[in-house]
Amino acid sequence: MLSRKPLPAEFESIKNAPVLEIDGKLHSPADLFSFSHDQFHHTMEIQKVLRRFDLPPTSHPCFVFFRDLNDTYGWFVGLNDLLNLPELKLRTALKDWFGGPEFRKLLAETKNA
């Protein structure tokens, strides 16, 4: 069984602060020493996918809709406005959006594409 030591107490208060410098870029202690192994890696994976769609690395969370896998075009919907919403509100917001005029407009556009 793999085990690891917890962060020293003095670092607990700044674990999310960008204080560790690696070749000019700042990282938080959580980036490098967090218990969630994928936390650091996950962002990199998302960025790899976004880069392939020619989208900025910070444009997540998002939806990318497409009509057919063989198409070369799709539709991007940024979800930044929904960040940090409580789960219940997030559900309501998404339900409203999928049932609302904006999504209907998107569907109409996909049909005409």
Binding site: L2, S3, R4, K5, L7, P8, E10, F11, S13, I14, A17, V19, L20, E21, I22, D23, H27, P29, D31, L32, F33, H37, D38, F40, H41, M44, E45, K48, V49, R52, F53, D54, L55, V64, F65, F66, D68, L69, N70, D71, T72, Y73, G74, W75, F76, V77, G78, L79, D81, L82, W97, E102, K105, L106, E109
Partner: protein, 485 residues
């Protein structure tokens, strides 16, 4: 307010982009591995999906291990009626093989990405920590943290050193563990691939199977092939371009002949000896239903009815008559002995006595054996369906005037009837309605698997199940009212 904006890919289609992103997530060691490529080829992303679903879509070049001819030739697939092309006629063995392999492939597909992520994240952490320990980076980081916490920079530097050392040790262990898992993964996938004979020439497993087929061929051609094919040559090197169906049917006939050999006294002596060795090797297997070798008494005579004994083995203990001798062993024993026995027969060049009644059981044994090898845990979904399908095929084919459904539409109607009228009610009976969720899951999973292979079956609703069909399960009787198309 969520707004949408159109985007356009510059590097190919959406499919290309997603495939390229998928491949980029795997570390090189995994991405370049031939076995990983084989598993990745089952990704539905690589199979063009028709715009209007399976029914109306254009037939496409199959690319996955489940859809490919393993010799690189295209496997003809089922196509809806009326489209006028000759297509591959699926046999029950195709159905079974596809179910077995697809279940396992999905599992190993997910495992591959999990291992890839563990390896990649461990590597990324190790690299970042290594760079943080660079004196320049360490100095500036310590100064920044020290300033924020108002602690002496030297103490912070020491603390960072300790953290990096501990994290490095941990990530290295994670990496080693992932690499160990990767080796296990490769071994399992190698065996799975060998099960289908994809790499028969260099596969130990395929060599076992191939040796068995050599035996079958030898016994049918009076040993003429024996002189030309040594026991180390495999079936698939002997057959230039066998389809999955051909492979499995030949393997199944091998097992039929193999079980026929069970009726010889010499064979039983050998089985008993080997089973004893098996028990000595694996003494700790706790299975109350399986008597220890000391309790098994063998009187030296060949069992008169091996098949019925095998069926007794499956009945509840209360219904199981105490056997006078020990004619049955778990399939695992049989599996273990198979290669040895086969080679023995090859060397002797002897033909076992014909025992047609054993053929069905042998086929069932093959299916269970395949499952055992593939380590697929879906007893009702696969083993039961497999058994019923084979039993049913054997039963109806003996009816006077029966004509096996050769046309695609007939076959699908046949399979559909079988699925809904026989397997579903039986499954319902076996689950005894105590686990409705499991029942639904299994039926839907089976329907989905068959559909992905091109079989147009659908899960029966409550209303479609004939009254009383699932109330009684009699191994020898099919439900009344069922008729073949």
């Amino acid at each position: 307010m969520l707004n949408f904006s159109p985007i356009k890919t510059k590097s190919g289609t959406i499919r290309d982009v997603l495939l390229s992103a998928r491949d980029a997530m795997l570390p090189e060691i995994l991405a370049n591995d031939p076995l990983a490529k084989w598993i990745l080829s089952s990704d539905l992303l690589q199979t063009p999906i028709p715009r209007h679903g399976l029914q109306g879509g254009e037939p496409s070049r199959p690319q996955s291990p489940l859809r490919d001819g393993h010799d690189g030739t295209e496997v003809r697939r089922w196509k809806p009626e009326g489209e006028g092309k000759e297509y591959f006629k699926p046999s029950p063995y195709d159905v079974l093989a596809h179910i077995v392999v697809e279940e396992a492939t999905n599992f190993y597909f997910a495992c591959l990405f999990h291992l890839g992520r563990v390896l990649a994240s461990a590597d990324a952490r190790l690299d970042a920590i290594q760079r943080l320990l660079d004196p320049r980076n360490l100095e500036s980081s310590a100064a920044r943290v020290g300033g924020l916490l108002e602690i002496d920079t030297n103490l912070i530097r020491l603390s960072l050193h300790g953290m990096c050392s501990s994290e490095s040790e941990y990530q290295s262990a994670r990496r080693r563990f992932a690499l160990d898992c990767w080796q296990v993964w490769r071994e399992k996938v190698f065996r799975l691939q060998a099960l289908l004979g994809s790499s028969a020439e260099d596969s130990v497993l395929a060599s076992e199977v191939g040796a068995g087929v050599c035996f079958v061929i030898c016994s049918r051609d009076k040993g003429s092939l024996l002189e030309r094919m040594g026991p180390d040559q495999t079936l698939f090197s002997a057959m230039p371009s066998p389809s999955v169906s051909q492979r499995l049917q030949v393997v199944a006939s091998f097992h039929a002949d193999f079980v026929e050999a069970f009726s010889t006294t010499a064979y039983w002596q050998l089985v008993t000896d080997s089973a004893r060795k098996f028990d000595e090797h694996f003494p700790a297997i706790p299975d109350p239903k399986r008597p220890s070798i000391q309790e098994r008494k063998w009187d030296g005579a060949a069992p008169k009815d091996f098949v019925s004994e095998m069926y007794k083995y499956k009945l509840p203990k209360s219904q199981l008559a105490k056997p006078r001798y020990t004619p049955f062993y778990p399939l695992a024993d049989i599996r273990m002995l198979m290669c040895k026995m086969t080679k023995l027969f090859i060397v002797n060049g002897s033909k076992p006595p014909i025992w047609p009644a054993a053929k069905h059981e042998a086929k069932r044994a093959w299916v269970a054996n395949a499952l055992f090898r593939a380590e697929v845990d879906a007893e009702f979904l696969i083993n039961n369906f497999a058994e019923q399908l084979l039993r049913f095929s054997a039963e109806v084919s003996e009816r006077p005037g029966f004509r096996f459904p050769f046309a695609d539409s007939e076959w699908n109607a046949y399979l559909d009837s079988f699925f809904n009228m026989w397997w579903v009610p039986n499954l319902r009976h076996q689950l005894n309605r105590v686990d409705q969720e499991r029942f639904d899951t299994l039926v839907l999973a089976a329907a989905r698997l068959l559909s992905t292979m091109g079989y147009s079956v659908h899960a029966a609703s409550e209303a479609k199940v004939p009254p009383g069909a699932g109330e009684k399960r009699d191994s020898d009787q099919f439900p009344k009212g069922f008729d073949v198309p």
